[in-house]
Amino acid sequence: MDIISPQRIEPAATPSAQRLALKLEKVRKSFHTNQGPLEAVAGIDLSVGTGEIVAFLGPNGAGKTTTIDMMLGLTAPTSGTITVFGKSPRAAVEAGEVSAVLQTGGLLRDLTVRETVTAIAALHGAQDRIATVMERTDIMSLAKRKVSKCSGGEQQRLKFALALLPDPRLLILDEPTAGMDVAARHGFWETMRQDALEGRTVIFATHYLEEAQDFAERTVLIGKGKVLADGPTAKLRSMTGGRVVSATLPIGSPTAVAISALEQLDQVSSVRLKGQRIQVTGPDSDAAARMLLGQLAATDLEITAPTLDAAFMELTGENS
């Protein structure tokens, strides 16, 4: 398979034709640690056109947060250049063109929700947007509550409200749903969807493949400080080796015959057997399922979507 190539598989959009929201050129960042220099970002090239919604997918320690920090001017790259709407990141922040929901902390626990919004609004000169933004993110009812008394999901909505204050054209979200339960996560993305309709450019980092799938048209897969793959999210899904179909073969049936029959199927990349339990991996799960249930009389059929871990092993060639 040629999917390991870090080049764009197929452009999700053509950023060059539109105006560019964000451009990263040969961006590197290394830190000095006690164990010696650490290259957190090892050369990233990326262009995002206005109006695109891009997922930054990668495991912890892949360099997502460092890259986002550089896009926002919070840290300077060791080498390479970053432009946001043709300006330096700091200039874009000052102009209110880019804003972000950062991953950890970022709120004063002893302020109320309204005070927090008012303080940040004052710094942006956006007092007129306070009511709109609080309604949009559904925190009006929390206005008088102390930040320390808000749940993780409520704090995240507050941070989202702060990010919307300057009415940014580019919104960056670093793991916005980390630490939320399922209901809160759904609620958050529901709000995001409404917002996306206004035509903002959105970049969000996540390590949930489902979030990328549900929300982004384009996914940039990051690992070890590099872009591993960049393309339409649907395409990425098939690149990750497809779904896994597993089932239990009836006792006494010849397993070797079953394995070779399954391997004959189109688009099956691997067949594994553990006792009577058989695992078929490939993009065409339907055909494998049909054969397992029909011809092979297997029971307890399960179909699972690829996990990010699997995707990474596939793309980095670290097959176990």
């Binding site: 919070l74 972000a100 902390g105 970022g106 303080a119 710094l123 300057p166």
Partner: protein, 251 residues
């Protein structure tokens, strides 16, 4: 500097009762305690009485503790990620530090004001209203060097306990800075090199103009007091800058 931001920050500080205990109530209480310890304090001292001397000392202590602890919170706030949140707004780091120093000086003014008000009510006297004014203004604005100290220590230790460490250090500096009790002999010789000595000496200057509390007490020139204040101000600037750079490099 942003007035709305300063106002919200100020409300927040005034809600922190635990901190106000240290920055306002304690100096007030210590004035009452020390003020009555030396036989009423009605004896004359310089251009006023002993009560004024103790009042000025405690006001200086309160103002310095206020700036230390409040500026110290700037460090812990940036550790909690508020600094990153601020970095996403047009406000620059200098604006953030400026707002913090401004808030800390307002609280210092409040703290010193409380001690001065109580002093005025309980018999502190000076020959001229200008002595009151000069002494008060010196206490408030001189306390700004301890804002640098608080910020520097806060940034260096990088933890919630940093403010406690910085404020605890102030008690030590105050004792060895001739603030609480008049020192003499070797202790006084050492005291002349400690950070609160010059500051508190200048706060008392309008009253004493260099003379000690007693007849045999040693005298200091205003030059020595200013030299002490300026030298420590420079040291604290270096400490604060070093700590800020260090915290940025590690991020």
């Amino acid at each position: 500097m942003n007035p709305t931001y300063v106002r919200i920050e100020l409300t927040r500080q005034f809600r922190d009762v635990g901190n106000l205990m240290f920055t306002v109530f304690m100096p007030v209480l210590m004035y009452l305690l020390f003020g009555n310890m030396f036989g009423g304090g009605g004896e004359s001292a310089g251009n006023g009485n002993v009560k004024f001397y103790i009042m000025a000392s405690m006001a200086a202590y309160g103002a310095a503790v206020a700036t230390t602890s409040i500026a110290g919170t700037a460090a812990t706030e940036s550790l909690l990620g508020w600094g990153r949140q601020i970095a996403l707004t047009p406000m620059k780091p200098a604006g953030f530090v400026g707002a913090k120093v401004c808030v800390s000086l307002i609280i210092a003014a409040f703290s010193a004001g409380a001690v001065f008000a109580l002093g005025a009510m309980t018999g502190a006297q000076a020959d001229d209203w200008r002595i009151w004014t000069a002494s008060y203004l010196m206490a408030v604005f001189g306390a700004s060097i301890f804002a640098l100290y608080g910020m520097g220590v806060g940034m260096s230790f990088k933890s919630e306990t940093a403010i406690g460490v910085a404020s605890g250090g102030m008690v030590f500096f105050a004792f060895f800075g001739n603030v609480f009790l008049p020192l003499s002999g070797t202790m006084l010789d050492i005291a002349r090199f400690t950070p609160m000595y010059g500051y508190v000496g200048l706060v008392r200057w309008p009253l004493l103009q260099g003379s000690g509390t007693g007849a045999d007490a040693p005298t200091d020139s205003i030059g020595l007091l200013i030299a002490n204040l300026v030298a420590w101000a420079l040291l604290f600037v270096i400490l604060a800058l070093w700590a800020v750079r260090r915290s940025q490099a590690r991020r």
